[in-house]
């Protein structure tokens, strides 16, 4: 991730799967299903469903390393991604985590991620302080 200068939305799935190869099996299930309609897997689906489930599981297992990696990954996409990547993280990852009330994950978040969360309080009704 450090060598990347800019991440485009079209590469969103690839970037996630390279960083978290343990998601490949779940991705393959999605890929087979999307192939029924001759479409590729939409990043909002991969990130919102599979990546968020992965983070929730890591939280339940208290897997510090995975949670740190996930937090750094989210932060780097917010810093290096194009506008669609930022939408992807905010609308499908952070909203999902906020909606499920998993504020414990916020201690692995960087400044940029916390800024995004803070701005999202205009749209969603949640206790922002729990996420800072």
């Amino acid at each position: 991730m450090r060598n990347r200068k800019y991440i485009e939305y079209k590469d969103a799935n690839l970037v996630l799967l390279k960083s978290f190869p343990q998601l490949l099996n779940d991705y393959e299930v999605l890929r087979r299903r999307f192939s029924l309609i001759n479409e590729s897997v939409g990043p909002h689906v991969l990130y919102g469903d599979i990546f968020c489930d992965f983070i929730s599981s890591a939280l339940k297992e208290r897997n510090e390393k995975l949670l740190r990696d996930a937090g750094e990954f989210i932060e780097s996409l917010l810093k290096l991604g194009d506008a669609e990547i930022v939408n992807l993280i905010e609308l499908s990852v952070l909203e999902t985590l906020i909606d499920s009330g998993e504020s414990d994950v916020s201690k692995y978040f960087g400044n940029k991620t916390k800024l995004s969360i803070s701005a999202m309080s205009n749209k969603m009704d949640f206790e922002v302080n729990l996420w800072m």
Binding site: G42, V45, E84, M124
Partner: protein, 105 residues
Amino acid sequence: MNFLMWMSLQFKKRPNAENKELQKIYKQLWRDQDRKPGGTPGELMREVEAGDLNPRHLTKAKDRVNQLRAVLSDRNISMSRLDRKTDEGVMNDLRAGIQAAENAK
């Protein structure tokens, strides 16, 4: 959102589903903690109405329509007639928002 746009949405709040996969998708589209009603289709329509030429919810709406289409096409997924009808209604709401966004460009 103007009255006509609002009335064109079939689902102002999250619909019910027996099928767990549909429940999960609908939870992505209508958040428990949303301050405004209408979920992703409603947000998209509000963005279009505000004159946003690159509405934030457009790509998400497209990705989720494809997911709902793919679920409907998967013969391994058992789905009641009511779930199928609801799925089609949700797709219609998303497509209406997508269409409005495309027309505004």
